[in-house]
């Protein structure tokens, strides 16, 4: 069944239809929120709340085929609230002061480990570091475009800004990522070398 059909059934009060939607998009939403917040526990809480809000307000969803975008819109608003909360600010400071220092320095950095798990851990660490350097708007646009697979127009709808603004955010965000990677000594060759070992 498509999202639209499941959303329509949910609107009619069928909890199982909503459960199917949650099962279909839960993991994807969780990964998005985790990258937005940098915390597994908080991401789980936010996702839980986002699904609850979606279930309670599903009758207000006018276009059921846009359920996934609507769900991300709810989660994004919760992420923004979280970043404005004392806990979010504390977490951001902790990232800036502690997380980056714990990462290996470029000059002392060991080459990518051949072991796949180690390599994945290295990449995840680098990803956290580069995402941490982005503004919340740039991070949102890039994560929605790159990992969630939304089109520019869908991202514009989710974030409530024009499509041109979304492209601008993605453009400057990608350039910032490239700059951070250079500062950390991650080159295209090292990435391709790591990929070849897989």
């Amino acid at each position: 069944m498509s999202d639209a059909e499941l959303a329509l059934l949910s609107r009619q009060g069928d909890p199982q239809a909503f459960n199917r939607l949650a099962g279909k998009w839960g993991a994807s939403l969780f990964r998005f929120v985790r990258r937005m917040l940098g915390s597994d526990a908080d991401a789980e809480d936010i996702c839980q709340e986002a699904f609850l809000k979606a279930y309670v307000n599903i009758r207000r969803l006018r276009e059921p085929e846009k359920f996934r975008a609507w769900l991300h819109h709810i989660a994004l608003n919760l992420c923004r609230d979280w970043h404005r909360s004392p806990r979010g600010r504390e977490r951001t400071i902790a990232y800036e002061e502690g997380f980056a220092e714990r990462l290996p320095r470029p000059e002392t950095r060991a080459p990518m480990a051949p072991d796949r798990e180690m390599e994945r851990a290295d990449l995840a660490r680098e990803l956290s570091a580069v995402l941490d350097k982005l503004s919340l708007e740039q991070r949102t646009a890039i994560l929605l475009r790159e990992y969630q697979g939304f089109t520019t127009e869908e991202i514009a709808e989710i974030t409530g800004v024009p499509a041109a603004t979304v492209r601008t955010r993605v453009f400057y965000g990608l350039k910032s990522i490239r700059r951070t990677l250079q500062q950390r000594g991650v080159t295209a060759e090292s990435l391709r070398g790591g990929a070849e070992t897989r």
Partner: protein, 257 residues
């Protein structure tokens, strides 16, 4: 954050990066990039950043968000409540269609305000109170004069302010105090009269007692004379009896020869 808006070429670069251009547009962009070193360098930067993001994509396990039992507040609402909600949302939709944008609503509100002002709507600030009303401002009413707690003067009933009330209360207090004083004086006069009456009564009673005592003394005296106890000693009489002296025969004294 101060991000300069992108020019058309860079916007197309982003679109091309994510496959949002048609084949023709992509070919044109490719030719442009190949002919411009700056664009080529930027294109490579963007592509490398994307390459990293793709390489760092993970499929970490995620928790399940399936509701085993629907939360209580999320259960389907009753038909009545739903009908009410639909009615409200329907009304909102109709109003939205009727009025359109917020600018139109604002315009309508401004027109309504102008009509109200034209009709004489006013807000008066009278002695600390805000009074809403229509028409021209009323003429100020002379401060009401209160006498003996009668109340407001005729014509002043429209404005009973706090000051009026204070004046009214003060006047009532003065009247009450005056009545109390008057009552006190009346009570005092009554007391004085009573004291005077008692005093007169006592005085009369004393006079009566005095007369009775004098009569008793006189009777006793006469009895003593009659018995010859006093002899020829002068008789002490009261001043009342002094005009008719009574000679008392002297008592003969016994001799020793």
């Amino acid at each position: 954050m101060n991000e300069k808006p992108l020019d058309a070429h860079r916007e197309k670069m982003i679109a091309a990066l994510y496959g949002e251009l048609s084949a023709e547009e992509e070919r044109e962009l490719r030719e442009l990039i190949d002919s411009d070193e700056e664009l080529l360098a930027e294109w490579q930067e963007l592509a490398e950043a994307r390459e990293f993001l793709q390489a760092a994509a993970d499929e970490a396990p995620a928790p399940s968000f399936v509701f085993l039992t629907p939360p209580e507040e999320a259960l389907p609402v009753s038909a009545t409540v739903r009908a009410g909600r639909h009615a409200r949302s329907g009304l909102r939709a109709r109003l939205g269609h009727l009025f359109g944008s917020p600018a139109v609503v604002f315009g309508i509100a401004a027109c309504a305000l102008l009509v109200l002002i034209g009709a004489g709507f006013r807000v008066d600030h009278t002695e600390g109170d805000l009074v809403l009303g229509f028409g021209s401002r009323p003429h100020p009413v002379a401060a009401p004069q209160f006498t003996q707690g009668v109340g407001l003067e005729p014509g002043a009933e429209a404005y009973l302010t706090r000051t009026d009330f204070d004046r009214f209360a003060n006047l009532q207090m003065k009247i009450t105090a005056a009545m109390l004083n008057q009552y006190e004086e009346q009570r005092r006069d009554e007391t004085l009269l009573l004291v005077r009456q008692v005093s007169v009564a006592l005085s009369e009673r004393q006079q009566r007692n005095h007369e009775e005592l004098r009569t008793q003394v006189q009777d006793a005296w006469l009895r003593m004379i009659g018995m010859g106890v006093l002899g020829n000693q002068p008789v002490m009489r009261s001043s009342r009896d002094r005009g008719t002296p009574e000679r008392i025969a002297p008592v003969s004294q016994p001799t020793d020869n």
